[in-house]
Amino acid sequence: MKRFTYTRAETVADAVAILADRPQAQFLAGGTNLVDLMKYDVERPDAIIDINSLPLKEIEELPDGGLRIGALASNSAVAYNAQIQARFPLLASAILAGASPQLRNAATTGGNLLQRTRCSYFYDPSTPCNKREPGSGCAAIGGLTRMHAILGASDKCIAVHPSDMCVALAALDATVEVVGPDSARDIAFGDFHRLPGDEPQRDNTLARDELVTGIRLEANRFAGHHTYLKLRDRLSYAFALVSVAAAMEIADGRIVDLRIALGGVAHRPWRDPLVEAEYAGAPAEDVTFQRVADRLLFEAKGLGGNDFKILLARKAIVRALRQAASGRPQSQTLKAIQ
């Protein structure tokens, strides 16, 4: 690890001010991604600002029926919160599909949003990687691509965003609350993570000097029809090859409102609200689900090692929509695919 200084911030204003002063500084939340990457010399901050004392751990109900989750609420605290389990079970389920008890206890809501890709070349400073070192090239293109993107990749980077939680937040249309040195702003979840394009070093649209303070969720009617289906190389404690967060509202056998987001397939959680809108009113049955899958995957492109993901994603989408429609969400403890 490169040498760094350690400072504990006591207030949000304090944290943002220290960051503004130190261009190479980074916030430390749960540390499960940052400390790991520092050990690999991939992240090399000269200053660590520990934000764990900031008052951002609350999960609170909002007057309009929504919920606000503080950026420092741990992934476990969110997944086991009674309000979240009752009203946003898709979010709880997605969190419990990821990592391990130890990691979910330490990992925070803000840190989960900002976790970096698990591309193995990104983790290996001896290989070229445009995300780690802009302009150096991409070792994954022409390399091992099993874990890489089938949608939205560029000729600069084909990495995927590894989060499970964020796939559910994308489907639920969350809002990210952030604070900078001069002002606070909201970022719609769909605008938070980016595609790699020519700047794969930028994972998201958070400005360099901003702090994530929380996430807002709007009330919805999806609690009866949702699922998080995660397919991976082993049944627990592995990142997704493909995952699907699906939620719908159904009346008289027809879809009233549909949400579907994919994980493990792109540089950000993949969602297409236009396709969702098109199937409002369609019968909640397999033919519809197959069409939704075909539409979402129309532009999917394999790179050899990940060609299998296209068919896997198609089947996962249909299966997840079936689970959601039937009101039988995938269990995250009993791992057999339902």
Binding site: K2, Y6, K39, S100, P101, Q102, Y237
Partner: protein, 158 residues
Amino acid sequence: MAGIAVSTTINGDQAEFLCHPDETLLEVLRERLGLMGVKEGCGTGDCGACSIILDDRLVCSCLVLGAEAEGRRIATVEGMAQGDKLHPLQQKFLEHAALQCGICTPGFLIAAKDLLAKNPDPTEEEIRFGLAGNLCRCTGYDKIVRAVQDAASVMRGA
């Protein structure tokens, strides 16, 4: 560089140490405080051998900085036995031969202790889910699961 002064409670006792910013809590516990029960398997959050309970949360100490322990309570495997009397989990791991090389064992014991504190009567499925962050490369998981079930029933007084 002057060390960072950290004051914590470890297994119920006050403890103070000095460390560098880049020392992990795992390194501090083992190398500065001599608590060798905390093991390093991977250093990257994958194996759970470094598990400790920090305040009331089971975490991997390899991904926590030593400096973060300021004002916190730490529980390690060293605090489980009372003098010569093993904790029921330790006793049942022995009886069920739930260990071979033993490097994963302290992490499993602490993770199981945390699991049973939250859920005194877990199903097999809940035990497997609760211990998913601990890897064992020699014993396999069946004996570990049985040892935890058996210890849970002793601890419930059943």
